[in-house]
């Protein structure tokens, strides 16, 4: 019982990171039709920024989180402007550019941090919340989850209640129709990439005190984000959030009761099965003819 509840909590907290990373990927793919393979590396840059500024140079933690988000968003904007935009007509082109960026960012991280062991960031919020004498949640994790959830809520508000969010969704649905209505689709791409990258950066920054930071940490992030994206439906942001929660719970439970590798393998197999049965994902629209 105790283990069950603890596992539940572990899973839900983990879902916050999954959702932040996946939502960015979905947003970028939805609006620009580019698979951003460097998305995991954007997360990594977020984590590295916190390590460099906070752990190495004593900048206050919250300030470094903000800086990391801004920095990663800038990288995203540069990628959009100089790589993805010239590649608009070639869907594979954007993907390949992002693979190039992936390498460059990994090397940049290695140069900043040096070859060596994984970097560690001491958690700024110490202590553990103990509930009912059995549930234990470190404050750092609680904080990260709260920030992630709030950010997702703000994003939802932005996309559904604000005009610019509406325009973003219009471009995601039909680029041509949207530009006929006077929506500047290049501008929308920049916003999507900026917001998507910022969320990846935030995920990384929040993860920093909780994980091993190294130049290759993006690999696991992108696998997870892919699974979540496909399961949730490629075009669907609510789908990505729901899939994040489901997948995080699934992965956490399988890890707890079986093994972590089995959890990842079965996640991948489920993803392939969903591609077969319902390529549009659990919440995506069926592809019409």
């Amino acid at each position: 019982m105790e283990l069950l509840v603890q596992t539940m909590v572990n899973g839900i907290i983990q879902s916050g990171f999954y959702a932040l990373a996946a939502v960015g990927l979905v947003l970028i793919f939805g609006v620009m039709k580019v698979v951003n393979f460097a998305h995991g590396e954007l997360t990594m840059v977020g984590a590295y920024s916190v390590w460099f500024l906070h752990a190495q140079n004593d900048m206050p933690f919250l300030l470094t989180v903000v800086t990391a988000v801004v920095l990663v968003a800038m990288i995203g904007l540069l990628m959009e402007r100089f790589l993805f935009r010239p590649m608009t007509d070639s869907p594979l082109g954007g993907l390949i550019c992002s693979i190039g960026v992936l390498f460059v960012l990994q090397v940049a991280a290695t140069l900043v941090g040096g070859e060596g062991p994984s970097k560690q960031v001491p958690p700024p919020y110490e202590g553990t919340l103990v509930l009912f004498d059995m549930l234990r949640i470190p404050y750092q994790r609680l904080f990260s989850f709260a920030v992630a959830a709030t950010t997702l809520g703000l994003l939802w508000y932005f996309l559904t209640r604000m005009r610019i969010g509406w325009a973003l969704r219009a471009v995601a649905q039909d680029r041509e129709a949207a530009s006929l209505q006077g929506i500047n689709s290049n501008r929308m791409s920049m916003i999507a990439m900026g917001v998507g990258a910022a969320m990846a950066g935030l995920a990384g920054a929040l993860m920093a005190p909780l994980t091993n930071i190294n130049p290759h940490m993006g690999h696991n992030v992108i696998i997870t984000a892919f699974i979540v994206t496909i399961v949730g439906g490629v075009g669907s942001l609510p789908g990505a959030v729901i899939a994040s929660v489901l997948y995080a719970l699934f992965h956490t439970f399988v890890t707890t009761y079986f093994s972590g590798t089995i959890a990842t393998i079965s996640g991948l197999v489920i993803m392939v099965l969903i591609l077969i049965v319902r390529p549009s994902g659990i919440l995506g629209k069926r592809v019409t003819e």
């Binding site: 070639s90 190039g100 390498f103 460059v104 490629v234 392939v272």
Partner: protein, 320 residues
């Protein structure tokens, strides 16, 4: 006719050069040459898969399937290399044929991601199921081929073996592309609905390309591991897959030669710039970006581009 003769002459000259070359190389460069020749087959077989316009991310894992198949057959069941080599191709091909059922229900982005997921699931299984796959350390002490008492642990005999097998495979791949089947694959790529309308079963042809390409890369996998003597799951991860992509794109995926050119030039550059150490991947990344932005048809299109620049005329469209 003259052009054909000239091509033939060029190929004969290249082969002759390759026959002499290892004798003038340093020992570790001979190894490098063996791996390079194997990688030529890897990228040429990948090109066959991409002919239908579907870019898979499972090719590296298919190579691993060939490597594991041959490694396990020779090591655990005492198969001869000469039997396990073709079987490596068969098993990789069969795996691809099986995976076609789920994967080709999708196309493009979905296929790309689906193939990536399927590949990672296979690769993680090698890591997870220590019996029989040996986990992360894989399977080592694989036997060398045996034939007429030739010592295939030495690089030069193994190089000749590799060269012979890879050349044979390349001839087959080339003939497939130039045949009716190759034409049909192109048709499936450029206009799938039109191809369907004249009776081409596009699913069949996508599967055919995927299966055949995987078969040849399975053979490449077997060739490589029986020289290294060790097969590990990390040799066939997304990292190697990305290299395959880079070779193809930088070389030029539109022609048969482009891909081969890509792997040769990039591998040689890579070996020369070993000293760059940590910077190396970034150089690769930058090269990849620059090519896709400024030379999307790859190195293979460079001479033509330069020529047209000099003449000041726009390049005349041509098609192979």
């Amino acid at each position: 006719m003259l052009a054909k003769h000239r091509t033939l002459m060029t190929i004969v000259l290249i082969l002759a050069g390759l026959l002499i070359l290892p004798h003038y190389l340093k020992y570790h460069q001979q190894d490098f040459l063996i791996f390079l020749v194997v990688n030529v087959l890897v990228v040429a077989s990948y090109r066959l898969v991409t002919l239908t316009g579907e870019w898979s991310l499972i090719h590296a894992v298919m190579m691993g399937i060939g490597a594991y198949t041959s490694g396990m057959l020779t090591k655990f069941l005492d198969f001869s290399f000469w039997i396990s080599l073709p079987l490596a191709g068969v098993v990789a091909g069969l795996t691809a044929a099986l995976l076609s059922f789920p994967l080709f229900r999708t196309t493009q982005f979905y296929f790309l991601i689906g193939s990536f997921a399927a590949g990672e699931a296979i690769r993680l299984s090698w890591i997870h199921f220590i019996r029989p796959f040996g986990g992360t350390s894989g399977i080592s002490a694989l036997p060398s081929p045996e034939l007429l008492g030739i010592d295939f642990l030495e690089p030069i005999p193994y190089f000749y073996l590799t060269l012979a097998i890879v050349t044979a495979c390349l001839v087959i791949l080339y003939r497939i592309e130039k045949s009716r089947i190759g034409l049909t694959l192109h048709a499936v790529h450029w206009q799938a609905p039109l191809a369907e309308s004249v009776g081409i079963n596009t699913w069949n042809y996508r599967t055919l390309a995927f299966t055949t390409g995987s078969m040849f890369v399975g053979i490449a996998g077997a060739l490589k591991v029986h020289y290294i003597g060790t097969v590990t799951p990390n040799q066939y991860g997304i990292g190697f897959m990305v290299f395959i992509l880079i070779w193809l794109i930088v070389g030029g995926y539109k022609t048969f030669y482009g891909a081969i050119l890509g792997v040769i030039i990039l591998s040689i550059l890579d070996e020369m710039f070993r000293e760059l150490e940590v910077i190396r991947p970034a150089v690769y990344g930058a090269v990849l970006i620059l090519f896709i932005l400024y030379l999307p048809d790859g190195l293979e299109s460079l001479p033509q581009k330069i020529a047209s620049r000099i003449k000041g005329a726009s390049p005349k469209g041509s098609h192979s």
